[in-house]
Amino acid sequence: MGKAELPLHAPARQADKGYIGQSVPRPNAQRLLQGRGTFVDDLRLPRLAHVVFVRSPHAHARIKSLRLQQAQAAPGVIGVFDGRAVAQVCTPWVGVLGHLKGIKSPPQHAIAIERACWQGEAVAAVVAESRAQAEDAAALVEAEWQELPVVVDMEQALAGRPVIHPELGDNVCFKREHDTGGVEDAFAKADLVVEETFHFGRHTGVCLEGRSILADYNAAEHSLTVYHSTQAPHMMQDIFARHLGIPEASVRVIAKDVGGSFGIKVHVYPDEMATAALSVMLRRPVKFVADRLESFLTDIHAREHRVKVRLACSKAGEILAFDLDDLTAIGPYSVYPRTSGIEGNQVVNLTGGPYRHQKYRAKLHVVFTNKNVTCQYRAVGHPIAVALTEGIVDLAAQKLGMDPAEFRRRNLIPDDAYPYTFPSGIKFEKLSHHQCLDKLLALMSYGKLREEQAALRKQGIHRGIGLAAMIEVTNPSPAFYGVGGARISAQDGATLRLEPSGMVTVLCGVTEQGQGTEAIFAQIAASAVGVGMDKVRVITGDTGVTPYGGGTWASRGAGIGGEAVLLAGRALRSNLLEVAAAVLKVDQQELDVADDHVVNRLTRESKLPLAELGRIAHFRPDTLPPDFQAELTVTRHYTPRQYGFTFTNGIQASWVEVDTATGFVKLLKHWCVEDSGTLINPMLVDEQLRGGVVQGIGAALYEECLYSPEGQLLNGNLADYLVPMALEMPDIVCAHVETPTKQSQLGAKGVGEAGTAGAPGAVMNAINDALAPLGARVTAMPFTPERILRALRKVP
């Protein structure tokens, strides 16, 4: 059989090739079900020391003095260090990228020197034999502060009142303007212009496992092994190597089980860099695990935006132009190495994305404030772009008296219009908006639901339907980070090895955070090689053994890592056939691999079990022709190149009931139709979508990091910061359209962020649909009962 022979997506394929498309349970879930996983905090190393950080109680203050002596003398203390001491070992960094023209940020140190710029910034590190001893000693560090003027409001920050980093001239980290031209003209000629200002609350990832790192420096080798709860081991290997002055190949980053990440664990955190530096300084393993309060203060936040958006359309309901002005605040530093300019940049790239208007103008300002830093969190920019687009689209439909589903149908880019270039410059290979819309409306019985809604309104029950069409960035090419100078891999590699027993070991640079990466790699490998999944073992998350790769972010694992596994699997099978041909002394073309055996290609009769092939190739190669060498380990890599991003599309719907007496929103049901190309494991895909939807619901209804005017985080604990819990969540119905990408042989696009991208907009539109007859409207997330009652003019 030739190279493109695997009927990967044929409907009725044989079981030996057919794991792709099957809802196979994850083999690696078994250990987690018995509490026998290995999270960083589960590891025990000899001479392990524990670090605790003294953090600034002020949002902006000069460190007049730090008295460490008392802490140093406390029981169990190994060392107490300030920023200058740690800076001797760890060089500072600057979170800018070349392709974000003009982005600026000051150098940032592992531990603040002279000045703290947000409440929670680490100013000293206390290392002790136990965590409890380190915490006791940290309380003995005496700091004398000179408080500095604070800016927490983004409008004030934009106005430079005051400028946080005087050497930068102003508080503008990054700005961008995009204009296709003709926007003013389109607005002047429009029959209808709608305008709205939307506010998005700053929130955070709340991974159940806090950020965790255990750094183990070996002074004899000048080598560093880091056990890290991270999404990007190779990126961190490069960073530790460069900032600690250790050769890259002498740094090994190992990510075992990771207790949730969602983009939180793909950034460089000062306290984690300090932990690695302390291991070097103390020549022993040092562990840091962020507790819940530290997580709220220092895990990246995201999504604090104020956006004015205008839409122009004709009487017939044709969208003519979008115009938007986004202001977002990112804290005092742009986060390294991905920068904090990307989220706003995505809002500019993606707003209006599902629709076919040609005129588009967008303005973005990204400003510094004295709050915790923000950076890329699941669905980066998409939840904002989708909510803006879908919120203003619904308003236009309402003003025209047109059904929102019909309004979308008139404006969604036609399914036969691809490839297509959107006015922001992004390119779509092939999307399926209309198929998805049709499927969604059928799935939710849209017409019937509207009738039910109308009937209930007469009884004083206010229910609403909200739709949100979306596009999503997946499978990013080097255009995302690499072109800007970031040492973040856009390619990923996979190694497949046939073991002597006929089993297959897979090693891949993409990591597992529970989304099922290892399971789908096993499915792909088993399908490509021709073995049962029970014969496959997968290893990820170790720079010491896996091929180099980017890891897990931007919905890239299945599409990029999966393709590398597929290519390596096909190559291994080809090599197996060469060995079999040599053993059996027949033409390779007569053979195939199926069900753990080399078989006759036509009769499917077993010719040689792979276990026997493995035995001969490994232990009795003397029986093979003298010039023949079996190659049973193969590595292949994959980089998407034809498009900057492989866009996916989908549409969500939310069905809610608003209690107009209390302002509470009850989520009744949620639907999501998504086109993520080839579905490798529908069960895992659906669960990714549902988890994402629920995270988006959190943003829409509950989650916000609230700061006082002094820059104090007011609700930084799990009791006061609300997250979605089981009782409030609805059942979520998922369905799919499959448009495989033609850029790869696997055809998979990403799916991990779609749910989070669309849910906030869908919920917002549903609430506003429920409130519409009452003349009320909400535009500031999260939609708390207080905000809804205020919109209803029931509270001031």
Partner: protein, 157 residues
């Protein structure tokens, strides 16, 4: 004031004795002193449920109970309840439904779910959701967890 105390307790059916600091939480004792790392510290203020344990047959938050309070009592953890087979039906259903992703909440979630099963009866989906409302899961969206528990409830006839 006395800081350290001798305690003796039964953990997963095995008698253990240790001298512990009065302030040490039960979950930290199990993790640090006994190496039972299946229960996780998620929030350490009693909200997330990741540290759920069973003490004398009742589920408790391991971060809200001190090790000294477990003196003379029987403590069961995810490891012990896995080995005894008590959680097998739930674990199988969780696996088949993919009712976990990162797995950090899973031990607590399973202990909470088993509590519901032990009460008997046929709770509705809404009641299952209500029972789990003290266990935070950021990954799954909860639906597969509810599905898995529902399957075991129905499987019990």
């Amino acid at each position: 004031m006395e800081r350290d105390f001798d305690i003796a307790l039964t953990v997963n059916g095995v008698r253990v004795a240790r001298r512990v600091e009065a302030r040490q939480h039960l979950v930290d004792f199990l993790r640090e002193e006994l190496g039972l790392t299946g229960a996780h510290a998620g929030c350490e203020h009693g909200v997330c449920g990741a540290c759920t344990l069973r003490v004398d047959g009742e589920i408790v938050r391991g971060c809200l109970m001190l090790a000294v309070q477990a003196h003379g009592r029987r403590v069961d953890t995810i490891e012990g309840l896995s080995d005894s087979g008590e959680l097998a039906a739930l674990q199988k259903a969780f696996h088949e439904h993919n009712a976990l992703q990162c797995g950090f909440c899973t031990p607590g979630m399973l202990l909470a779910a088993q509590e519901l099963l032990r009460r008997g009866g046929k709770p509705s989906r809404e009641e299952i959701r209500a029972h789990l409302s003290g266990n935070y899961c950021r990954c799954t969206g909860y639906q597969a967890i509810v599905d898995a528990i529902e399957q075991v409830l129905h499987g019990q006839g």
